[in-house]
């Protein structure tokens, strides 16, 4: 760091001068021939330059042999060597006209695109510091929803949904993976966790069926194509990007202090006719101190770290000759978590080599790999999630350590009580460590043959190997109840697991393009096969007396071992034809014929067709008078995609061998069927219709994309329940039901400048999605809270409506007498009033109604950038409008045992405080106010909408002449902040992005807000 500042100081004082010649000329729009006022002309490698006048003319003094760079916002830059010329006229073309984007099995000029594809380039991402590549998509691409959930280092990949949830099975299993899109990195099925963000050249998100149909069976939830950087001809270019950041939790849960807890616990005991637990003397000790056995500190001061450091370093070399081009990179990230005892290191490398063997033959070998090494507290075998939950749920009654120096066992000696758990901070710091390592490698070899111009055959093979090695060490602890000491936290337990998975892919494609007069016809045919296998092994031992040896050989009590394996395979044929008439009329047809091992012989193969058309209206004569319209394209598409996410063997009936029993005091094996199979199960089909519009206006300054889509999932794969008299077996997967996602998306970019020095851009996007189950034979309720039912969104909250709080016992008993409470539970003043929605005089499970929708309705993002004389500023806002989440911390479980409550309960109902919507406190199980196990209640459904300043950054690019002496071609320093500002009405103390699924806001790893300083250097 110190070195860097010395360098910068040096650059600032060194300025050079040279002898000049004068160049004049005009800069025009290449399409219309109109002059371009305000275009930039810079001398390459120097800070000097000028801009064109109102007629597009310029005049500039330069040294001979210089190179001029002509640029204009929205247009592709051009470089012209001065040579002996005195007049240089330049026609620039709109950059969007040339923009080439990556699509399935190929590339396409954006102007010829007929499907709905969202893109994000490395320039757009800039130096935004994201710990996981997927986070770069947040707020950037319309139609893409990121649900963050846990932000734990090494485990912070968000859940990605493209255009909503299409498959009902998600809600059956509670597994979001079923709605996750297919991710391909350079054409190889992979995960975004594997890629260093700086390696990424571009993202392409294939949103509609027409774009994604070429991926057939796996593409129902959309496709994300990631392209990594590749070498270009020229001398080696070295890039170094480094930053360090300091992170804090965005917000800290606000829980009752020991004094308030004890006070409310007493009140709750009294409210339910029980004796008080804490004496006045004890309350005083909690409030004022005086006895170290009575704690006065909450958990979060020690459990959360402030200024947790994060550093990320990236190094790459690119370059090449006519015959060989290369890109090597290496990345390193070291992140301490905002929760103590959590951290993660990640090492990445990548090598992309392309070789031109002859004019006809090209080949290349790419390999990338990574190691992620993450730690978290073992925490009694339950990990950091339970640690966070305990910091929220446990009352902070005991000190971390007693005066004898030992960690509290959870006993409160004086009162003879116990909360039965070692102090959370003590258990987290001394209870052992869990480690997860992911080793990933993806070698990929290709050959390309171009026997005739524009006819290319390509074969490539790749293997994606991932090995997850985990170790779990639960160490014995010595704890104290304030007097004696005792051992706790198990027997000293160690477990090691290994999950090796490989995906081998082979692909063969051939493509040919032919221009005949005004028509261009292109075609592609391909074959691919893919095989997956995973092998799992787990072994454990117990009896570790200390933490010195954490290997399996370190003990020999209760040894145990288990393992399993599974496989699937795919085989597919696909093809594409596209037609283009004068760039005006575009049409494309795709088809894929997919076979999967997951389906029985009867339905092994499925066909997925799609077609799309486009009309570039701006090229029509009748539009030529509209000078402000540079481009205007209408698109329409229709297509079908498949979903095979149903487990590996749904069509095969099996007998499980994991049903043991005990005879003669020894374990013996047992066998039984656990699940029903359906030999006729077939693909779920998702059918998407999309109409869209792309426009570019005002000299390419404003571009706009809008889409409207209807996405229907047909023959939805789900497991409707079957009667238990079949043997209490897992229901077979069946094809039934229909789900619809319908929505629109806008994105807009505006580039502007004030003079030649100040440039700015505004870009924004908005996506709306409505989810609805169109057909479903059998509704189903998950976790007693969310219902999937015909006519409603998937996973709608289903429960009781709370209309208020009983203000008097008489009122409450009246209601009780008339059965107007669920199950006729005992109620008093201060308890919730449940609505008798069907008016039958009794409140019971029949009164439950839909009370919320956890599906995200709107997502939006906005980016502003400004550049002035080497300074650049950018800010990204991102948000969600319309998402309901159950507040899992609200009321937790009503002061049962030693469960803490949020400070919201300081405003609970009491006879003195009646104007509140927080019910009275009560001990133990009270059906009325508790949502611990009961059905959802409307008062606990909260709006998780938010607007967040995701990223703000100020950078300075040091002028080239200052740094060129050191061989640097680019040097930039910046400071930035992440998640610095959030506007939300979500639960106080919780981050709206914490909520992964519908109701687990109470144990999510906290989001970080961070302050970053970084530098980007190129040689």
């Amino acid at each position: 760091m110190k070195k860097l500042f010395t360098l910068i100081a040096f650059f600032v004082v060194s300025i050079t001068f040279a002898q000049n010649v004068t160049i004049t000329g005009t800069v025009t729009d290449g399409e219309s021939g109109e002059p371009l006022p305000g275009a930039n002309i810079l001398v390459k490698g120097r800070a000097s330059g000028t801009i064109t006048d109102m007629d597009g003319k310029y005049s500039l003094s330069v040294s001979e042999g210089a190179t001029l760079v002509f640029s204009f916002i929205g247009y592709t830059s051009q470089e012209v060597a001065v040579g002996s010329k005195n007049v240089i006229d330049v026609a620039l073309t709109g950059s969007s006209l040339d923009e080439v984007i990556v699509v399935g099995y190929g590339t396409q000029k954006k102007k010829n695109l007929t499907g709905a594809v969202g893109t994000l380039s490395s320039e757009d991402i800039g130096s935004q510091s994201v710990t996981s590549a997927a986070n770069a998509l947040s707020g950037r691409v319309s139609g893409v929803q990121l649900i963050q959930g846990s932000a734990q280092p090494g485990n912070d990949a968000p859940t990605i949904q493209i255009r909503g949830i299409g498959t009902v099975r998600t809600s059956v299993d509670g597994q979001n993976s079923d709605s996750a899109p297919l991710v391909l990195v350079d054409g190889v099925q992979s995960t975004l966790n594997d890629v260093h963000p700086n390696d990424i050249e571009s993202f392409s998100v294939l949103k509609d069926a027409a774009s994604a149909a070429i991926y057939g069976a796996r593409a129902a939830n959309g496709v994300i194509l990631v392209t990594t950087k590749r070498g270009k001809s020229g001398k080696p270019k070295v890039s170094i990007n480094s930053y360090i950041a300091f992170q804090n939790a965005t917000t800290t849960p606000s829980m009752l202090s020991s004094y308030d807890f004890a006070r409310l616990k007493n009140e709750a005991q009294t409210n339910t006719g029980r004796p008080e637990v804490y004496t006045q003397e004890e309350l005083d000790l909690f409030l004022n101190g005086g006895d170290t056995r009575y704690s006065r500190t909450g958990f979060f001061d020690e459990g959360y770290r402030t200024g947790a450091p994060l550093q990320n370093h990236y190094f790459s070399v690119t370059g090449g000759t006519e015959y060989v081009k290369y890109m090597f990179s290496a990345g390193y990230q070291d992140q301490e978590g905002v929760v103590i005892e959590t951290n993660s290191k990640r090492y990445n490398f990548r090598s992309n080599v392309d070789v031109k063997v002859s004019d006809m033959v090209r080949t290349g070998f790419n390999i990338s790999g990574s190691l992620t090494d993450s730690n978290e507290p073992n925490y009694g075998g339950l990990g950091v999630t339970q640690f966070i939950r305990d910091m929220i749920r446990k009352a902070p009654l005991n000190p971390l350590r007693y005066d004898n120096g030992y960690i509290s066992s959870g006993n409160v000696v004086l009162a003879g009580r116990t909360d039965g758990a070692i102090h959370p901070i003590g258990l987290a710091t001394e209870g052992g460590n869990d480690n997860t390592k992911y080793y990933r490698a993806t070698p990929n070899l290709y050959f390309e043959l171009e026997p005739v111009k524009d006819m290319v055959f390509r074969a490539n093979g790749s293997v994606y190997v991932q090995d997850r090695k985990q170790s779990f060490f639960r160490s014995k602890m010595t704890v104290s109840d304030g007097e004696g000491i005792t051992t706790a936290n198990g027997l000293g337990e160690y477990r090691e697991t290994d999950l090796l998975s490989t995906t081998s892919t082979f692909e063969l494609t051939g493509r040919y393009n032919k221009t005949l007069g005004k028509s261009t016809l292109g075609g592609m045919l391909g074959y691919t096969s893919q095989a997956y296998r995973q092998d799992f092994l787990s072994a454990s031992n117990e009896g570790y007396n200390n933490s010195l040896i954490t290997e399996l050989e370190g003990a020999s009590l209760n040894p145990s071992v288990t393992g399993n394996a599974s496989e699937w395979a795919l085989e597919s044929f696909f093809g594409r034809v596209n037609y283009d008439y004068e760039g005006k009329y575009l049409a494309e047809f795709n088809v894929r014929y997919d076979g999967s091992s997951r389906f029985g012989e009867n339905n092994r193969f499925g066909t997925f067709p799609s077609f799309s058309v486009g009309w570039n209206m701006a090229k029509e004569d009748f539009m030529s008078s509209l000078k402000d319209v540079n481009e205007l394209k209408l698109r329409a598409s229709w297509g079908q995609l498949g979903n095979q996410n149903i487990g590996n063997y749904p069509s095969i009936a099996t007998i499980n061998l994991d049903q043991p029993y005990v005879f003669g005091n020894s374990l013996v094996g047992g066998a039984a069927a656990r699940a029903l199979a359906n030999p006729n199960v077939k693909w779920e089909t998702t059918q998407t219709s999309d109409i869209g519009l792309d426009a570019t206006l005002f000299n390419y300054k404003l571009s706009l994309t809008a889409d409207y889509y209807v996405r229907k999932s047909l023959d939805v794969l789900l497991s409707p329940p079957v009667v238990a008299t079949l043997g209490n077996l897992t229901p077979p997967v069946q094809n039934q039901g229909e789900v619809e996602n319908r929505g629109y998306e806008f994105s807009l970019n505006y580039y502007g400048n004030i003079g030649s020095e100040f440039q700015y851009s505004v870009s924004g996007n908005w996506s709306h999605n409505d989810n609805k189950v169109l057909k479903l034979d059998e509704e189903f309720l998950s976790a007693n809270k969310v219902l999937t039912k015909e006519g409603y969104p998937i996973n709608s909250f289903y429960g009781h409506v709370i209309t208020g709080i009983f203000q008097s016992d008489a009122e409450a008993q009246d209601a009780e007498t008339f059965g107007a409470q669920p199950g006729g539970s005992l109620v008093s003043a201060g308890d919730y009033i449940y609505e008798d929605t069907n008016g039958d005089g009794v409140v019971n499970s029949d009164d439950r109604v839909i009370i919320g929708n956890p599906n995200i309705r709107n997502t939006f993002g906005m980016t502003l950038t400004a550049d002035y004389k080497g300074f650049n500023f950018r800010v990204l806002f991102q948000g969600v409008l319309g998402r309901d989440v159950e507040n899992g911390v609200y009321g937790t479980d009503g002061l049962r045992d030693y469960s803490n409550l949020t400070t919201a309960f300081l405003d609970r109902w009491t006879p003195e405080n009646t104007d509140t919507d927080i019910p009275r406190v009560a001990t133990g199980y009270k059906y009325n106010n508790s949502l611990f196990v009961g059905p959802a209640i409307s008062s606990a459904i909260v709006d998780a909408s938010y607007l967040r300043m995701k990223h703000i950054e100020l950078g300075y690019t040091i002028p080239v002449e200052t740094i060129s002496k050191l061989g640097l071609s680019n040097a930039r320093v910046y400071v930035s902040g992440q998640n610095l500002l959030t506007f939300t009405k979500f639960v106080e103390g919780y981050d709206p992005e914490d909520a992964m699924t519908f109701n687990n806001v109470n144990d999510s790893y906290p989001q970080a807000k961070s302050f970053t300083m970084g530098v980007n250097l190129s040689f």
Binding site: R274, G416, R417, L449, P451, A459, F506, L508, Y527, A531, S538, S540, S560, T562, N564, A565, S566, E567, A569, L570, E571, G595, S596, S597, N648, Y649, I652, I655, N656, Q659, P660, Y661, V662, F663, G664, N665, L667, G669, G670, A671, A672, A673, L676, A677, V722, V723, A724, T725, G727, N728, L729, E778, G823, G824, S825, L826, G924, Y925, Y927, F932
Partner: protein, 478 residues
């Protein structure tokens, strides 16, 4: 050009994917049921169901909390809803869990009974396995008839399409239970070698038959079956062994115990430990004892009854070397019958669950004899054997039939407390006993129990009716 085509074709074949993929961790159903090993694995898989939470690992033991023997504070187990009659309806979880688990066992037993006859194997082993399956199927159906009355009688393999069945009359199901038990009696051995200890015996089937007849008021048959058990050589253990009968010290190895659900403490993956052992640790370490004997039970013990201190931990007493702190229990008492005295056990424990023992057979005999022939010597003698072993004197002579019935009920309640009998006994005694049992509980504030005649039977689970309307009509009152 030719060589390119050759290259392409070669590459294609290299890439050929085999789409025939079969499970690697489990056997395809058609390949199973081929050898005697499969038959053994299959019958063991039926026993496996017994060790589940919703059967003997948790529910049966704690079913006493559904009557006035105990209180369960944990709402998520639904004991409260059922015991208090509040919030208990056809959608409640317990009736569904128990229904599901019972049919899981029944269908597994059916699979054995349908497939094992086809296997070529030693005839005596085959018959024994078929006998075990018949016994277990009878046990599962017996529980079902006690809680739900009429239930579907499933004896063959069904497809999803065939599965929407109606309920069969209880009498028809009971007849099948008796037939299964008779088959078991004829095919099961009286005892096993060391490695098979825990399998159902001729005695288990005979004793269960006496219970089934008693429950169905076929008293002479109940007496006959009880006498047949005695003839097999079973007897009561001495007083000094009473406590250990429920602990690993004596499991599977006493003249009194007839059938036990087998548990083994922590043995790594696949271990089958009993949940209730965990309460040992709970008494010492946790904030609240989840299942607590009620004051109303403690009051029933006569002075000198050794069973009181073996069953209930009371204030002032110590357990596992530590004085019991009654604040940890909602009732001030903790259950210790069958709980291993080892505070380090906070997870699965070793102790078996005694399902059938000779003391019950004697009480079956006493009750059936009294109902059939009045207060005879046979009835007196059977009850007095139980009382004497508990350290109590003989019953006073000259009791009327009603008085003796009351005495037998009390003895059954105390002797078999927390062994999965009391709640079922209360249900079969009928409405007035259930009402008395519920209204008797006043010692836990805020948990008064509200009687409703419908509570005599559980509702057919609504989740099942939702799929199969043929299960209607629902039981009375639900």
């Amino acid at each position: 050009m030719k060589k390119y085509i050759a290259f392409i074709l070669t590459a294609l074949c290299l890439g050929c994917a085999d789409l025939e993929r079969y499970p690697l961790n489990s056997i395809g159903a058609p390949e199973f049921w081929a050898t005697s090993d499969d038959a053994t694995l299959g019958i063991n898989g039926v026993y496996n169901v017994l060790a589940h939470n919703h059967m003997y690992r948790d529910f049966m033991r704690h079913s006493d909390a559904l009557a006035d023997n105990a209180y369960s504070q944990y709402s998520f187990n639904y004991y409260l809803e059922i015991s208090e009659g509040r919030g208990f309806d056809a959608s409640s979880v317990w009736p569904w869990n128990f229904w599901k688990k019972s049919y899981e066992g029944i269908v597994r037993a059916n699979e054995v009974l349908l497939n094992v006859p086809e296997i070529t194997m030693a005839e005596n082993t085959k018959n024994r396995i078929l006998g075990e399956a018949s016994f277990l199927r009878a046990l599962f159906y017996f529980h079902l008839t006690n809680l739900y009355g009429d239930v579907p009688l499933i004896l063959s393999k069904q497809t999803v399409e065939e599965s929407l069945v109606p309920r069969n009359p209880k009498a028809e199901v009971v007849a099948q239970i008796i037939a299964d038990l008779d088959f078991a009696i004829n095919n099961l051995p009286p005892s096993y070698g060391p490695s098979d200890l825990g399998r159902a015996t001729k005695g288990a089937a005979t004793a269960l038959k006496s219970r089934v007849y008693l429950y169905n008021k076929q008293y002479s048959e109940a007496i006959q079956a009880a006498n047949q058990v005695k003839a097999l050589g079973y007897d009561l253990l001495p007083s000094g062994s009473y406590k250990d009968m429920f602990l690993p010290a004596l499991e599977n190895n006493s003249t009194e115990s007839i059938f036990e659900v087998q548990f083994l403490g922590k043995t790594g993956t696949g271990g089958v430990g009993s949940a209730f052992n965990a309460s040992s640790g709970a008494i010492q370490a946790f904030g609240d004892v989840p299942y607590s004997p009620l004051q109303e039970l403690v009051d029933v013990y006569e002075t000198g009854d050794i069973r009181k201190d073996i069953t209930v931990l009371q204030p002032g007493q110590s357990f596992a070397g530590e004085e019991f702190n009654p604040i940890r229990s909602q009732t001030g008492f903790a259950l210790i019958k069958g709980v291993i005295e080892d505070p380090t056990i906070t997870d699965d424990g070793d102790a078996n669950f005694v399902v059938i023992r000779y003391a019950e057979v004697l009480l079956n005999l006493a009750e059936a004899e009294n109902e059939l022939n009045g207060p005879t010597t046979i009835a007196y003698d059977a009850v007095n054997q139980i009382r004497n072993r508990a350290g109590l004197d003989d019953l006073p002579t000259g009791l009327t039939k009603d008085q003796l019935r009351t005495a037998i009920k009390k003895e059954r309640r105390l002797e078999l407390a927390f062994e999965g009998h009391y709640y079922f006994d209360i249900l079969r005694y009928g409405a007035s006993d259930l009402q008395a049992s519920m209204e008797n509980v006043t010692s836990v504030t805020g948990h008064e129990r509200v009687y409703d005649p419908k509570l005599l039977m559980w509702p057919v689970p609504q989740n099942e009716i939702n799929i199969d309307e043929n299960l209607l009509p629902q039981n009375t009152g639900w």
